[in-house]
């Protein structure tokens, strides 16, 4: 739309550098973007990261396999359960631990609930970026109901450590199943309300449509995944591409949009909320009886070698690469986080946009800064 080729504008030499962040309302935490601007036009936007680097990978080499588990809930704190899942499953893969089916279903159900709460936070924070203040309160209202359910079973509101090697920490009761069904019932009309009130709003559409187009090829070159890649028309979802847990047994669609603009990413997020509701419903229907913990050796010493496990986190592909040397402490824990790759294309995608559009693009990438910095 308003993107211009900076090279064809005559007399462009009065640029200045705007340091957006590390403390800035649109930085979602502590991202810093060094913007070379010509007036309102962004000539170059260079993200500077590391302001919340928390040494997760170093800590992995300092703790036993089990002790690292709480860290996984604090990398991308909005979709903590997916990160739990990837790490736990990678260790299970290394040790060839069988997970009971009930535990697998519980993992899927709670993961999808976590995805909904994550998308709700993204949605509300994105609307704040765009200047709409009220959706936040509505989304948090829904989110609180979800957190009540998750808290009852996981014992935590945000930074879960619910999944354990060989299963899950806690079995659910009848109240959880009932409450979750009720939530699904109540949340569908709310989604429709959000669509009517927010998504179809003319100002919002004008701000998002055709803003920040990202092509599938750009995503591939930068390794961007999740709603960014799906918004560019590629139906890539780790749940289908590298099936894990009981996802192959469940029916759901991978929502994609062709346009690749910010609106496409927005709509993909909103459509994923509905798909997550579907998965939760099916999971509850098929939830088998049985134990929630499998047989796990007392001392964990995975055989030497490396083991990868990827999951579809709320922001895209999250992969854990574990290197074991056969001891009870990991030799190397590599965390491949989606926000890192998604942000890396920002510099190329934002060139020549005006500041509000660049921020609309940045918000649509769905960034969680500790997920980038680790």
């Amino acid at each position: 739309m308003n993107a211009v080729d900076p090279t064809v504008r005559p007399g462009v030499n009065e640029t200045f550098v705007l340091n957006l962040g590390p403390q800035h309302p649109a930085a979602h935490g502590v991202l810093r973007v060094k913007m070379t601007m010509d007036g309102e036009y962004v000539m170059r936007a260079e993200p500077v990261i590391g302001y919340i680097h928390r040494m997760h990978e170093k800590m992995g080499e300092n703790r036993t396999w089990a002790q690292f588990l709480p860290n996984t809930g604090r990398i991308d704190y909005l979709s903590a359960l997916h990160y739990n899942h990837a790490y736990v499953a990678a260790v299970e893969r290394a040790l060839k631990i069988e997970v009971p089916r009930r535990a697998e279903f519980l993992r899927v159900i709670t993961s999808e609930m976590n995805r909904i709460s994550s998308h709700l936070v993204w949605w509300s924070a994105y609307l704040i970026d765009l200047g709409g203040l009220t959706p936040l309160l509505y989304a948090f209202d829904d989110r609180e109901k979800l957190l009540d359910l998750l808290e009852a079973v996981t014992g935590s509101r945000l930074t879960y450590t619910y999944f354990r090697f060989g299963g899950v920490y806690n079995d659910v009761d009848e109240a959880f199943v009932r409450g979750t069904r009720q939530f699904v019932r109540e949340f569908r009309p709310r989604l429709k309300m959000y669509r009517d009130l927010v998504t179809t709003n003319i100002i919002l559409r004008k701000r998002l449509e055709a803003i920040g187009p990202i092509s599938a090829e750009l995503c591939r070159k930068y390794g961007a995944t999740g709603p960014v890649l799906r918004g560019a028309g590629v139906a890539y979802d780790v749940r289908r591409a590298e099936p894990y847990s009981v996802y192959p047994e469940l029916e759901f669609e991978i929502p994609t949009r062709r346009e690749g603009d910010s609106m496409a990413r927005y709509l993909v997020h909103m459509a994923e909320l509905e798909q997550s509701l579907r998965i939760i419903e099916q999971g509850l229907d098929k939830l088998p009886e049985g134990p929630v913990m499998g047989k796990v050796p007392r001392v964990l010493r995975p055989p030497a070698g490396d083991y990868c496990f990827a999951v579809e986190a709320a922001r895209g592909r999250f992969m854990v690469r574990l290197v074991s040397d056969g001891k009870d402490v990991p030799y190397r824990v590599k965390l491949r986080t989606p926000s890192f790759s998604n942000l890396s294309l920002f510099e190329e995608a934002s060139r020549g946009m005006i500041l509000p559009d660049a921020l609309a693009l940045m918000g649509s990438l769905d960034l969680v800064i500790p997920d980038i910095d680790r």
Partner: protein, 166 residues
């Protein structure tokens, strides 16, 4: 030779001081400043269920000049520390700091022998008025922290402390 004169003993505006303290306690505008996980709980405290606005503290100001209260919600690492310190310096007196969460209090779970990144507690950077433990603290805990700060300002407790039944 140094002479220290405690001016507050010479000139006293007792009633006015009380009034100002009461006003400040009821109008704590926090800085929009989220660092990590705790920031989400800070947002939740502004949400409809907990509603920090009841205490007049929902006016999150993005500019440190207009804020009275800095809620350090999350881990401060060594790269970020100068920025946080600058923000604190840019805030105008009177100002208060709440260290929310274990990371802000002591570095929390990220402290281990040989760690190279985390500042072990923001009180190493500037004075902190209220510490709220938790990882992350619940929104109720943040509200309680704000009330503790109000108590520190006015000397009076807003609501009686509820002791849970045994």
């Amino acid at each position: 030779m140094e002479t220290t004169v405690d001016t507050s003993r010479i000139v006293q505006f007792a009633k006015l001081d009380e009034l100002l303290a009461l006003s400040r306690a009821n109008s704590l505008w926090p800085l929009t400043f989220g660092l990590a996980c705790c920031a989400i709980e800070m947002m939740a405290a502004g949400g409809p269920r907990f509603d920090i606005s009841r205490f007049g503290a929902e006016v999150f100001r993005p500019s440190p000049r207009q804020a009275d209260l800095m809620i350090v919600a999350g881990t401060v690492n060594r790269k970020m520390a100068p920025a946080v310190k600058t923000l604190y310096d840019q805030m105008l007196e009177p100002k208060w700091v709440i260290a929310m969460g274990n990371c802000a209090i002591s570095g929390g779970p990220f402290v281990f022998p040989g760690q190279y990144a985390v500042v072990e507690g923001v009180d190493k950077l500037f004075p902190v008025d209220v510490f709220i433990p938790g990882c992350p603290p619940r929104p109720e805990a943040l509200l309680e922290g704000i009330m503790a700060l109000e108590e520190k300002l006015t000397g009076k407790r807003r609501w009686p402390v509820v002791t849970p039944p045994k």
